[in-house]
Subunit: 316 residues, 2 copies
């Protein structure tokens, strides 16, 4: 289903998928393949398709989002009419925004406000610090990528050219037995030119996936400040509860209900965080393994090429 | 013998060793070990000792220089008195400069002036072009050396720090089963810090010898323009021979003698070039093998370290 949609839309930008159980606001634009050539480079389109694929897979893994009507509709609709009908139905849903919490029953003892606040603080600190860590890694990765495709590529190319150039000069010596050295030296030069290519192409084979995963998490982490803001506002409200009761603005029963709702919100956020952590551990484990595997292949490939070149030299 | 002298002088700068059979002009200064500390860094002294060792080995390999009285004296003298006596004896030698050619008998048919000129031209072109090639390689090598010890070292260090930093953040999640990822991620970070060190230390293990050999050849090649200048001047003189005979400045017999001497000079230069080529092929073969061997070890060491790190990740 997902694959079909990617092909259908070619370039889809899901905006915010508010991960509530009842409603998904799915803003997106799509550009028909007919207007693509000339306006977007192949590489760019490929990247956007990969990212959409990744995003939809992530939504499919989410226990609540994956089962929601509107997400199912997005994946399965066959024509514009089906999509519009479904969209109109979803728009009638009144259970949007924080109202979604009214449909949740944690089936667990109510958390007191101090516990709620501590948990919220932990999630806030964690997501902020992970955001910094992810951005730091993206930054270093970007610099390394540019160095591999730029200066490093040129440098290995120059080393290769210098060996080949020296070999050409040696070839003009007119001295007998020169070929023993010059053939091997030319081979060494060509090997370093090949290494130059391998170095330049490597980031697309390993760093790419590390960067994409971190980019995805940068996007996810960027949504947390708003989400956590809603929870912090609720906590603030509960903290003001006693004053509001005293001022006759709310009843004691209202205050009890507010505290209960905040506990429910906290359980929901905890569930979301558990899901986030579980995915994060899986994703980083997988991408680090992929990165290291490709890095090993990279160093081994070069070592193998150099071994073959070394074999061309004769021990005199 | 050579080793002993290196130790004795600590820092010797042989200036020009005019490679004639009868006389070696050996200008050098030496600095006693007592005044070394503070003025010269250990690294610098080590490099100069290595270069002197290399230079003396080269002189020992030269069939004429190695057997000359003054070179033997330089290697074997026990005190200042022996050195001064030998030096004074050498200074009385009248067979210096181009006069040395009068002691040489090529035992081969005389070369006509066109052959002499062609050979001289070939040597001139070869040494000039090799000089350019060597300087080009030294230039590229210097840039690569600096990149390895500078930006590349820092970059791998930053990658390592970024992994370790992310691992520290993950450790604060409070989520169970976090250690599976964080331990491996910390290990990966440390591995990239180790790689940073390996990259920074690598040039001293391989590029160093490639650079030293090329530096030595840069020095040798720098002597050729003067040497070839002497030969070109002789050729010029022979070319003017007919005019000089016509002007009564020299006899026909003088002209014949001049041509014969030029042929002898050419054979001497050819012998020197043959010796140069033979050494060059040996030296470049050896240093390229050493360079490639160390490069292979470098890439294999990193691949091995990464393999060990990969093993720490669990396939979830």
């Amino acid at each position: 289903g997902v694959g079909r949609n990617v092909t259908k839309h070619q370039l889809v930008q899901p905006g915010h998928l508010q991960k509530s159980g009842r409603q998904i606001q799915c803003y997106y634009y799509y550009i028909q393949s007919s207007i693509l050539p000339g306006r977007f480079e192949e590489e760019f389109i490929k990247m956007r398709m990969e990212r959409l694929q990744g995003w939809l897979c992530r939504m499919c893994r989410h226990p609540v989002v994956s089962n929601s009507d509107v997400f199912q509709l997005f994946l399965t609709y066959r024509d514009e009419k089906e999509w519009k009908t479904g969209k109109r139905r979803a728009e009638k849903d009144e259970c949007v925004g924080p109202m979604v919490f009214s449909t949740i029953d944690p089936e667990a003892p109510e958390l007191d406000i101090i516990e709620v606040e501590q948990k919220c603080e932990l999630f806030s600190r964690f997501t902020k610090e992970m955001d910094d860590g992810v951005k730091d890694l993206l930054n270093v990765g970007n610099i390394h990528w540019k160095r591999c495709t730029g200066p490093l590529r040129k440098e290995y190319q120059k080393i290769g050219k210098a060996f080949q150039n020296l070999s050409s000069v040696f070839n003009t010596s007119g001295y007998t037995g020169e070929a023993t050295l010059t053939d091997a030296l030319t081979a060494a030069g060509k090997t370093y030119e090949e290494i130059s290519q391998i170095v330049a192409e490597q980031p697309r084979k390993d760093l790419h996936f590390l960067m994409e995963t971190n980019n995805e998490y940068k996007g996810l982490l960027g949504c947390f400040p708003d989400t956590i803001g809603v929870h912090k506002a609720a906590i603030e409200k509960v903290r003001e509860g006693d004053k509001m009761v005293a001022a006759g603005k709310i009843t004691t029963q209202d205050k009890v209900t507010m505290a209960k709702r905040t506990s429910i919100m906290c359980y929901s956020l905890q569930a979301e965080m558990n899901h986030f952590h579980s995915n994060r551990i899986y994703d980083y484990n997988r991408v680090m393994q992929l990165y290291l595997e490709e890095q090993i292949r990279f160093y081994e490939t070069i070592a193998e090429k150099l071994k073959q070149t070394l074999g061309q030299f004769t021990t005199l």
